[in-house]
Subunit: 421 residues, 2 copies
């Protein structure tokens, strides 16, 4: 099937998923690969489509990273109970009738796993991703950082009502000089920072260059660490006015967490989550030139471990035979944020949603909530359907709008199918 | 104890191990670390003493790496049967009476593990190293590459008698244009390449810059991959004349292996060794700008997995309840090389030794053989004593002569102590 032909007339023409697959492109084959098949960090397009279909499963091969140890124990069991979900039909937000299998192809899925009542009812890998290989989570990382913040609050190590400067005095003269930790956790910060990947002048690229996540070229003279970039951020608008999704808030929160716990983010994730949920593989973070992990988008995990984390969330923090994550932390997330504030964020495809502790709360009739990355990476927890869907993807469009119109109805349709007697 | 005071009069003055420990130096503490405690890749001294005591346990945090997956199975058991070996006395080659514990301190040990009859009789970690953390193996890497070559020969995938150019036609106009694979495996290649770390103009630094293993600076115009560097190597002297230890031979062999197996070195090590010996953690390789793993010195493993590999070698390739490594490959290694050729290598401290498949054969009365890295990294297999000693270290002197006069007598003394009734 040629997906671009299958688009609705109003949708933008997208590249054919099959013709742009890792197999079809032949990236990085041979010793050495030929010049046209080579993916190198110095190429600023190494993380862009179609190279991202290879790169997102090979991030550590392009730059420095820090390990997130899974711990000494055995992996928690993931019992397979396969169901054929490919045929589950849904209607896209554009009104097109599709099924789950078509959605996976059309949204450039690298891997997807569906848990129902804790059992693996569906698990598929495409292209460069394999069950043991970590994939770039991008902004799904933020939900881990938000969860670690909620855990730190539950453990009494972090005060959400405190000013940011209590933990980060060096942020005094920045946008965060008069902000609270809670405002950072819920992204209601007034800060001049554009997340628009379609605008080459957007600050998101300054951020990526400062953190060493994309090539900065030989004449680069900007900040050389995440922290130094964060210290340049200036105020725009007011705090607490409304939800404004900006990656730098997750980096600020990660910095706060490191100070509050006196632990690096990789160590903290290992100790507080990875070792407790029975992770099967180590995870890892991209790090900047001084070894600081990116809390905004640098996490890489296997799909299976992402599923284990989602399932722990669904079970109020219980995983691997123990209270892996404090119940209070999970409750603080699932209570959600203020939909009125969220509405100011301008997400036309997400009516009635809210945002809390760096999680996206659907407020639908199933009480579903999500972690979301801009190329389609997601954790979708549906408490009513006792379902968790995790997905890694490498969509050509760096915006959730490229995925949401298909994925959100598809996830809900699968939930309803699993609820059916 | 101040180790420099404890040196024999003829030995060079060395830094006090305690005063230069990771704990004493306080490297990379804080968020961010202060400038004087920072270790960054751009600093060409980041891998030199005393920073190496931190860096060797954090290599992936400074640059790109490729994973060596341990496989889906559980780790093979390492049963502890502790013995107090600290007091085992020996005489250094300089005539000094010391014990094993003193040797460990005096040679800047990061970790050491002794297996006797497959059980862990001694295991200690110092400084930055922990049981789950990989450490830079440096030239111990070469013995893995040599073992993989011997495995490929046993599997019929590699012909040691073939010319190098059968696998690497692009090496036709280099020193390797008239060499055989066997000559590469045993390092009897006549090639202009200096391994002298004390000479800043030595080619070993050109090699390291080409492979992205050390900072090359903004005006660097030399080769940007291992392969491109190898293609510049010119002949000096004759092949097969004698043993000449040159890291580039291991890189050439790694390239041959990739071509012969159509697999990258990390994949090959995972499939042929790591998944078979019951490794406890993933290992990893440093990779260059196009993702090529360094077979000359880029491997990082935990000490425990290094011990598992040594124990598999001691048992003729049997490990984890199976013939993990072909017996023929192990036999090809342990038969050793030609001591007359080895003698031409000029190792005054290693009389009567030989070199085969990138392993060092002592030819002592115990039939011991070794893998050796220049800062003291080692695998020491003593078949008669049914003993394997593995050690990671970060000695100030980048040469085995800094370790051998103490470590070799110490290892042999421990072997004799374990043999005693």
């Amino acid at each position: 099937m040629n997906a671009s032909q299958a688009q609705t007339p109003s949708a933008p023409a997208l590249p054919d998923p099959a013709a742009t697959s890792v197999g079809a492109m032949g990236w990085m084959q041979g010793f050495p690969p030929s010049a046209d098949k080579l993916i190198v960090f110095e190429n600023p397009m190494s993380g862009a489509f179609p190279r991202n279909r290879w790169t997102f499963s090979h991030v550590r091969e392009l730059g420095p990273t820090a390990n997130v140890w899974r711990g000494p124990g055995a992996a928690s069991a993931l019992v397979a109970a396969p169901r054929d979900l490919d045929g589950v039909v849904f209607q896209s937000m554009g009104g097109e009738a599709l099924n789950f299998g078509q959605m996976l192809t059309r949204t450039y899925t690298d891997g997807v796993l569906v848990l129902h009542k804790g059992r693996v009812v569906y698990e598929k890998y495409f292209g460069a991703l394999t069950p043991e290989r970590p994939h770039l989570a991008m902004s799904v990382t933020k939900s881990f950082v938000g969860t670690l913040a909620a855990i730190s609050v539950a453990e009494g190590k972090l005060d959400p009502a405190a000013p940011v400067t209590q933990y980060l005095p060096e942020m005094k003269d920045t946008a965060y000089g008069d902000a609270t930790v809670r405002q950072v956790m819920d992204m209601t910060i007034g800060v001049k920072y554009s997340e628009n990947y379609a605008d080459p002048k957007a600050e998101v690229f300054d951020y990526a260059r400062a953190g060493g996540m994309m090539a900065s070229g030989p004449n680069y003279a900007g900040p050389r660490t995440f922290y130094d970039f964060l210290k340049t951020l200036q105020k725009e608008g007011e705090h607490d006015d409304g939800f404004a999704y900006k990656t730098v808030n997750a980096e600020v929160l990660a910095w706060i967490l490191a100070r509050a716990n006196n632990q690096s983010l990789p160590e903290l994730l290992s100790e507080k989550i990875w070792r407790r949920i029975g992770a099967e593989q180590d995870a890892y973070f991209m790090v900047d030139r001084i070894g600081t992990a990116s809390g905004g988008g640098g996490l890489n995990t296997t799909l299976r471990d992402l599923a284990r984390f989602g399932e722990a969330m669904r079970n109020g923090g219980r995983a691997n035979g123990q209270q892996a994550i404090p119940a209070a932390a999970v409750a603080d997330i699932t209570r959600g944020g203020d939909p009125a504030k969220f509405a100011k964020g301008g997400y036309a495809l997400l009516p009635g949603w809210s945002y809390r502790d760096m999680w996206w709360i659907t407020n639908n009739e199933h009480g579903a909530y999500m972690a979301r990355g801009i190329h389609g990476q997601s954790i979708y927890v549906d408490p009513k359907a006792e379902m968790v869907i995790v997905r890694y993807a490498a969509h050509p469009i760096a915006a959730n709008s490229g995925n949401d119109s298909l994925t959100l109805p598809a996830f809900h349709a699968v939930a309803k199918a699993l609820l059916a007697p």
